[in-house]
Amino acid sequence: MMLIHCPHCGARDVTEFTYGGAGAARPADPAAADDPQWADYVYMRDNPRGLHDELWQHSAGCRRWIAVRRNTLTHDVIATARPGELPPR
């Protein structure tokens, strides 16, 4: 069973959370971004076999979005934080 440590509520079962995918950064200046930049942001993924920084919502808890660093092969949760506040790798 996968436990995710919500920074606000503590360790909770994965079934309390909704997955939000890789937290890729939006183009900084949306009006200036061209089609290839948007396509890259919307569709292309790194999809690593190993460490992955992602967003989850604690939907059956505090309902806040959190950042999770997880290993996609072992499912180990390495670190959790408020969005944008994961420590550097």
Binding site: G21, A22, R45, N47, L73, H75
Partner: protein, 431 residues
């Protein structure tokens, strides 16, 4: 799940399987059957190297040899044949798609399935027992009649069933007014059904091998050497292999292997699980699916109920099962078929799915001149196996897609030509 391939025997003779060969081998107690394919060491160079010895890679090699006369071909598999998703899936075969490109492609596949055992001289146990999608609401019925009409316009069989017809067809289904998921009817494709997954890998392997293709197991691709915009060779756990053209057919590991070539793909890897019950006498002679419950069930030839449900819903390369989706599948089974409540579950497993961002596959050229892509199969790639290999072989041999896979290009995402059957948007796990 697949069995390991037999050890190599260089003296393999190709025997046509028939009643005559069966009788002849009965006299030697079935101990003299030749191996179904050779296991040669890799040669230093091939015209075409296919990476991935699942159904898609093996079918590609088969059709390269059979349809295009290209036989200096190797299939490189890091584990054993069919040990990926080919040997882990729930074997449902159908062509009940709404969008034209998907409908024509999957219908071509279904037509190949219908003659596959004869074509391969290998029994893939294709069993067109029908695939029934249950409608639980008026909205479901409307959506299914729309889909069924689209299928019929494309020349594909589809029947919209009312409640009484569903009840007659699946007597054990809870069709009562008190049912947890009330049944209002369903969409039936009678020509759909199931097939034996391992046999598909083995049949294509034998067919390809007999035409000269080298099938090389325990051979993991670990890197590529480049010259300009071409790949010149492949680093593997069994040495360096030069290749004229390279076809990538590694399903859930597409992101990982593409990254070795410096490519990013519109794909995420997610784990999908399935489970089987203890075997029982024949009780269910069709495939039943419920979109509302996110669940489907059929009965295997061995008598087990084969259950499947949702993805685990987060990126994963873990080829194993986790409990929450298993619980969901069992709850759905019991809600639809209360009579199965005392069945024990025998085993569960998982496979890594190559979930594309629009739910449809990619078969085509890549940004690298001599690298071709076959990926993005989501949960539906088993039924695609024959047409996927057929179209991929055409694309590699001719260096351009066939009309049947012309829409499945990598650049469709940037060009806004996505093929999103469900209209679910760019979320890999939502398709």
């Amino acid at each position: 799940m697949a069995l390991c391939a037999p050890p190599s025997n260089p003296n393999t003779l190709i025997v046509k399987y028939s009643i005559v060969s069966l009788l002849r081998n009965a006299f030697s107690h079935h101990e003299q059957w030749p191996l179904a394919w050779r296991s040669p060491p890799p040669k230093p160079e091939y015209d075409v190297v296919i990476i991935g010895g699942g159904g898609h890679g093996l079918a590609t090699a088969y059709y390269l040899a059979k349809e295009h006369g290209i036989t200096n071909v190797a299939v490189l598999e890091k584990g054993y044949l069919g040990g990926g998703n080919t040997g882990r899936n729930t074997t449902i075969v159908r062509s009940n798609y709404f969008l034209d490109a998907n409908a024509h492609f999957y219908e071509h596949s279904l037509k190949l399935w219908e003659n596959l055992s004869a074509d391969l001289n290998f029994n893939v146990m294709f069993s067109p027992r029908g695939v029934l999608n249950l409608a639980h609401s008026h909205a479901d019925l409307e959506a299914y009649s729309r889909r069924g009409n689209a299928m019929r316009v494309n020349g594909i069989d589809a029947e919209l069933l009312g409640l009484d017809e569903v009840r007659r067809m699946v007597p054990l289904l809870d069709c009562s007014a008190e049912a947890r998921y009330p049944v209002m009817g369903g969409l039936l494709q009678r020509r759909g059904g199931t097939a034996r997954h391992d046999a598909v890998a083995w049949g294509y392997a034998r067919g390809a091998d007999s035409r000269g293709v080298d099938i090389i197991q325990q051979c993991e691709v670990t890197g590529f050497s480049r010259s300009g915009n071409r790949i010149t060779g492949i680093d593997t756990s069994r040495g360096h292999i030069r290749a004229g053209k390279i076809g990538l057919a590694v399903a859930g590991h597409s992101g990982q292997v593409a990254a070795l070539a410096g490519l990013r793909l519109p794909i995420e890897s997610h784990v999908l699980q399935a489970l089987v019950s203890e075997p029982v006498k024949p009780v269910l002679d069709t495939v039943v699916t419920s979109g509302a419950a996110h669940f489907y069930v059929s009965q295997s030839d061995k008598g087990e109920l084969v259950l499947g449900g949702d993805l685990d819903m987060y990126n994963s390369y873990g080829q194993r099962s986790n409990l929450p989706p298993v619980e969901h599948a069992v709850q759905s089974l019991v809600a639809l078929f209360p009579c199965f409540s005392r069945l024990r579950m025998l085993r569960t497993w998982g496979g890594v799915m190559d979930m594309s961002m629009d739910g449809s596959p990619i078969i085509g050229k890549s940004p690298i001149d001599n690298l071709y892509l076959n990926c993005g199969w989501c949960y539906g790639g088993f039924k695609a196996t024959p047409a996927s290999g057929w179209c991929f072989a055409h694309t590699i041999a001719q260096d351009r897609p066939h009309a049947l896979n012309a829409a499945f290009t990598l650049d469709r995402y940037a060009q806004g030509r996505v093929l999103d059957e469900r209209g679910a948007g760019p979320f890999a796990w939502a398709h």
